[in-house]
Structures are given as structure tokens and as C-alpha cells.
Symmetry: C2
């Protein structure tokens, strides 16, 4: 089998952890598999490099920032290759460009255009474990680029896709995907399997186990993922297209408190008002999540929606003129709210799932302020104070 | 003019010094010159990276070591480019391979094969200050290589040679080349000019201002060098082929205490004995400096020679069997010796220079153990305890 394994910065933070990763990697290799390992920069390296840059020029140009940050993975790949050789297996480290990563020129958030994996293939044929720098590539000008947040997950999936790997294992500090946050809900269970779409919904909900770009890419190219812990090395959660439908209907309960709720009261009940409002939000580059519009009454209606907490004030600012011009009665942002969601691909073919969720919340005496549903997700907006209790109540309803 | 400037690790050790370098560079640029800057890794970065490697695998393979170490300059070039842009001038950083450095595959001590300077030229044409990572290149397998000790000097000279630069300025923490070590001899004077050959002799003598490979390359391609301080930015010492012959006959007095003297007493006075002895030393990869062979007496002769201090014991070990087999009376290494030398290209056409040097030492009551001369150098081996006094006496004789 060809297996791609990805280890994040905390998994290679110091010499001891690098040796631990080397043990995991060489174990797979000794079982007879071809192994490509993708690693991020060690622990706080990236932050330390950013601090160095800020000290000199807080407005450094992004090309130079990419040049600087790419040094981080260069250090971790060479150290891991040394650790693997220490354990007696042949290894070779490759920078993003050596591994064939061609990207767009958008420094800091470059997109992978292509992975020309000939060199990786060639090194594997020589029976080497190939250690690849995640997060980085080269643009058409031969300049270093970085892929932005979570980029190493994407690097790993891109290699797996281009080489038709049998499995792409994403090692993290959690043991897999759970029915709820196991630090908060002791009864939370680890899932054996989950679909790409469910995984994407969970990521959007703040349960950020995997970077969304990487899951989208895995879905597009049919790369089987496994989320697995680098500390326990027990089987993790497989992410794939179709999973055993006998399995649980609902996969997980998630909570997101990083939310602001914007309320606009007294907008004229005329066509085009929502368009005008949300086009201003879009111009301010703010992502909108749940939208609720009241039924018109007395010639006006109310519109409320949620945005990331950090964008709450900007959203209000973007709407100020508009609200004045149409004579809206109120424009406010509240951040004492939380979103609780259940996710599960089977949900759309089963009735009563929403009703069960609302019942659980009702029994816990929790007030629902907004509701949003998709084919595989139901989200409710509630007061932040109720969030923990809400997750516990919903989790108990579906999983305990 | 096209000017290449090189700054070592201590010149870019922290944010403040990086800004200082940026000021020097931008000053030249604003005078209308094309400027290429070559930098080493910041301060202790290289040593820190080596420590990281040793913690994981003290016998790391050299390819991985080069991959690791090359990250050092990657950090310093991007930071310097940011600093230059902070001062309002356009800059671009280039890794060794981006700057066109093609090297041999001998990791850790790679030789520069060629500098394909098209990209540097192209960036200069766009009126950018080009910041190049010293010390590193790429071999024919597209693997990162490093040039070994003093490699950044060589990188700078190689760029200057390949682009026919008008001047290559090597910035250091000294103000230039002196008639003696100014920390020891207060009367030491800075030289305005010195020839390549004189510079090479001085480097061999332990007055390591410039790396020898870089001076050899500068001589071969006729690159005019200037040794200059990054702290004072006053004119330094120019190194070139032919200098004003009106200038001082003797350029400098240097001292080297990093020496072991090997003495072999009672070797048969027969042809081939010296060859057999030194071929054993060569096999042990030990460089020999001064060699002295006594006139034969009673059918035997004595051979003594100097080697780097660290190789003293190895030299004795390499000769043990040989000395036993020929019945030598004594084989020993002494490290309480020092070499004091005077260097100057004019020396060969002037008589009495050696006599003046010996007179100075005699007046100071210093015993000479060995003497070695070349066209532009006279070295004497003396007791280490006398070294400081010897330099002072010789310097006073020629320069005060």
C-alpha cells in the first residue's frame, strides 16, 4: 500500500516527539508499505518567525513572509529524516518545490495547481521513506509560496490524490472525530467512520479537526482519510464518501461560541431589501452563516443573521448608513450567543430528527433564538450561557 | 556600478543589526548603484540548528544536514529584504538555487560549479536590491548543498565574478586588514591595499579575515575585494592583483598559536625517508606547514614539522610504526609553540627583510626554532610564551 501520513507542528515540537513520529512512520514502513510523510513546522516556529518579521517590518511584503515561513518546515523535515535514519530506515526530506508542489502566486494563501510527484515516486522506488514539507510550494516565477492556515493537511491530501495513495492519515492530538467534544461531554464516543460532507459541516461548526480545504480536496479526488492520534496510535476515524448506513444516523453534536448575532429591526417590507443589506456585508468581506427574516408586519420586517464574532462590529458599521437611510428602528450586534448543531448524513431520510433535538432543548428549558437546517445538519442559536447544557442534553438524547 | 556586498552572521544577528545592514545597503543603492547583498545565517542560528540535529541523530547524513542548515540563510535573507523595504527601497530575497548556484554534490563542503545569474540580473533590471543566501546551492540532483566554512564569502565572490561586478565588499567586524592584530598591538595600522597573494598568506597564518577559497576565486577571476566594517562603515582594505608599489614593503605581522610541532629524531640518513614519513601524514589527511630537516650526522638525521594543533596526536599516531621500524630515537608532539610571520609582496625584490626580522627577535632575546620562507612571507617558529613579545618587536621594527 502507498500511505501518506501527516503530522502537525505539535507532533514534532521537540526531539522526543520527532523520535515518536519516526517510530510511527518506520513501523508502517517495516510492514512493507510505501510511506510519504508530510510535516508542518515545529511547535511555535512559525509564530517565532512571524515575531522576528514584525520586529523588523510589521508590513512585510507577503513574498518575503513566505520565504521566511517556509524555513520552518525545512527544519522539521530534515530533523525527521535524521530521526528515521537513526531508527535504521532510509529517508529523504523534500521541500515543497522538490516534491513537485506548483501553486498560484497568491503569497500566504496560495492554491495548489499541481503536484508533479515524479521525484517522490523515484525516491519511493529506491525504498526510501519520503519526508515532505507541508504548507509550501513554488509559483510560476520560482518563488516560494505558502498555503495558509491548515495548509499541511492540504499538502498531504494533494500528494495522496496525485499519487493515488491507498490512505491518507492525518495525525493530530485527538484520537479521531467524536460525537461531541470529549473534553466537555465525558460520554462522547469516537466515530469509526464519517462522510466527507459530515466532516465539512463539523469543520464549519468550529469542531476544527481537519482543515476544510483538505476535506474538500479529499472528497473531490476520493482520497480516503483517517484522523488519528500521534500520541496513542490507536485506530482513528476514517473519512470517506460512503459509509456503512447501519451506523449511527447522527454523527456528532458541536458547539460554536465564536459568533455574533446581528439584528436589524424595522426594515421596509419591500423587494430587494435583503439583497441591499447583504451586498453591503459581502463588500465588507464578512461571511454570513444563519439568516432569519421575520414575516412582514406594519409594512416592516426584521432581519437577523450571524457572523464570526470578530466581524460583529464591522458588520454593524457596514450597515449603519443603510439602516439610517431606510429608517430601521434598531441595529445591534450581540455576542452572548452560541450555535449548537447536530450533523449526520442519514438525517435527510429520517423524520423526526429535528423534533428530537428541539425536545431535548425544551426539556432542558433552553430557548431557541434561530434555527438553520441543511440536508445533513441542524443548527440552533441559543444564549451562550446555555451552550454547555444544550450540548449535553442533545448528546444524551442521541447517543446515551 | 554593480556592487556585491557580503554580511556575515554577526552583522545580522538581531533586528537592530539587520536594520543597520539595510541602511548600508540602501545608501549604496540610493547613490545609483546596482546592489547584490549576500548574507549568512543570523548569529548563532547555524550552531542552534546543529544542536537540534545532534539531539536527534549525532551521525545525521550530510544531505539532511545541508537541508537543515540552509534554513538559516533563508531566514536572514527574508528579514533583510523586509528591512530594506521598510527603508523604502524595493528588494527581493533569493535562495542559493534561485540565485543560480550550481554546486558539486559533496554535502557540507560543496564546490561552486557555476552561477547562472540570469535571475539576479533580471531582478536588478527591475531596480531591486537583490538579497542572496550565501553558503548554499543546489547540486545536479536538485538537492540543497552547503559550501562549508566561510562559504558566504565565496558565494559573494562567485556572484561578483559571474556578473563582472565592479567591487565585492566583504563586511566584517574589523575595519580592514591591519599590519598586526589591533587588539594586541595598539600601534597596528590599517592597510589601504593588499594583494591577493598577501591576503592568502595572511589567511594561512591564522589572521582569518577572509576565507581562503574566496580570495583564491577573487584572484582567479580578478574580482576586486574590499574588507570593511559593518559597524563603522569607513573605507576598509582593498584586495587586488597589483597595488601601488610605493606602499609599504611589508604588509602585516601575524601570529598563529594553533600549531603542534612534531619532532622525529634519528631517522636513517637515506634517500626516500622523508617521502615515507610524509606519505603517512598525507594518508591521515593532515596538512603539514613548515618542514625542517637537519643535516645528516652519524648516519641519521632529524625531521621536524608543524601541523594544526588538533592534528598533533594523530600525526604522532600515524608515524609510530614507521619510527619503530626505522629505529628512530624520538617521536614527539609539542604544542607550546607559535608561528610569527611577516607578509609582503615587495619582499622578494628587497634584500635584508629577513635579517631585519631576525634582528628584532634577537634584540628581544627570542629563540627561533624553525624558519620558513616563501616569495612573500617569512615565518619563524618560537616558543608560545614569546609570541606576543615577538609580534610587538617585529611590528615595531617595520611599522613604528
Amino acid at each position: 500500500m502507498l500511505i501518506v501520513q501527516k503530522f502537525g507542528g505539535s507532533s514534532v515540537a521537540d526531539a522526543e516527539r520527532v523520535m515518536n513520529v519516526a517510530r510511527i512512520v518506520t513501523e508502517k514502513y517495516r510492514q512493507g508499505h510505501d510511506v510519504v510523510v508530510v510535516v508542518s513546522a515545529q511547535g511555535d516556529t512559525t509564530d517565532d518567525l512571524i515575531d522576528k518579521a514584525n520586529e523588523i517590518n510589521p508590513h512585510a511584503n507577503k513574498r518575503e513572509m513566505d520565504m521566511l515561513l517556509a524555513a520552518g518546515e525545512q527544519i522539521s523535515i530534515s530533523l525527521l529524516a535524521m530521526a528515521i535514519e537513526k531508527l535504521g530506515c532510509p529517508a529523504v526530506s523534500l521541500l515543497g518545490w522538490q516534491a513537485g508542489f506548483q501553486t498560484s502566486s497568491k503569497h500566504g494563501v496560495a492554491r495548489i495547481r499541481k503536484v508533479k510527484s515524479e521525484r517522490i515516486r523515484n525516491e519511493l522506488d529506491q525504498k526510501k521513506i519520503v519526508v515532505v514539507a507541508g504548507f509550501q510550494g513554488l509559483d510560476k516565477n520560482e518563488d516560494m509560496t505558502t498555503l495558509g492556515r491548515g495548509g499541511s493537511d492540504t499538502s498531504a491530501v494533494a500528494i495522496a490524490a496525485s499519487m493515488h495513495a491507498d490512505l491518507c492519515q492525518i495525525y493530530t492530538d485527538v484520537e479521531g472525530v467524536y460525537t461531541a467534544d470529549p473534553r466537555k461531554i465525558p460520554a462522547a464516543k469516537k466515530l469509526d467512520e464519517i462522510t466527507y460532507d459530515e466532516m465539512l459541516e463539523l469543520a464549519t461548526l468550529g469542531a476544527q479537526v481537519l482543515n476544510n480545504r483538505s476535506v474538500e480536496m479529499a472528497k473531490k479526488y476520493g482520497v480516503e482519510l483517517e484522523v488519528i492520534s500521534s500520541f496513542t496510535n490507536r485506530p482513528g476515524t476514517k473519512v470517506k464518501e460512503v459509509i456503512n448506513m447501519e451506523k449511527m444516523l447522527i454523527k456528532s453534536v458541536a458547539k460554536d461560541t465564536d459568533i455574533a448575532r446581528i439584528v436589524v429591526v424595522g426594515v421596509p417590507d419591500e423587494p430587494g431589501m435583503a439583497f441591499k443589506l447583504f451586498s453591503r456585508i459581502a463588500k465588507a468581506h464578512i461571511n454570513v452563516d444563519i439568516i432569519l427574516q421575520s414575516v412582514g408586519r406594519d409594512g416592516t420586517k426584521d432581519i437577523s443573521f450571524t457572523v464570526p464574532k470578530k466581524d460583529g462590529e464591522a458588520a454593524v458599521a457596514a450597515l449603519r448608513d443603510y439602516c439610517d437611510s431606510v429608517g430601521a428602528l434598531e441595529l445591534s450586534a450581540r455576542t452572548d450567543v452560541a450555535k449548537v448543531s447536530i450533523v449526520g448524513a442519514g438525517m435527510e431520510t429520517h423524520e423526526g430528527v429535528a423534533a428530537q433535538m428541539f425536545e431535548a432543548l425544551s426539556d432542558a428549558n433552553i430557548n431557541i433564538r434561530m434555527i438553520s437546517t441543511s440536508e445533513i445538519k441542524i443548527s440552533v442559536l441559543i444564549d451562550a450561557d446555555d451552550a454547555e447544557r444544550a450540548v449535553a442534553a442533545v448528546h444524551a438524547k442521541f447517543f446515551e
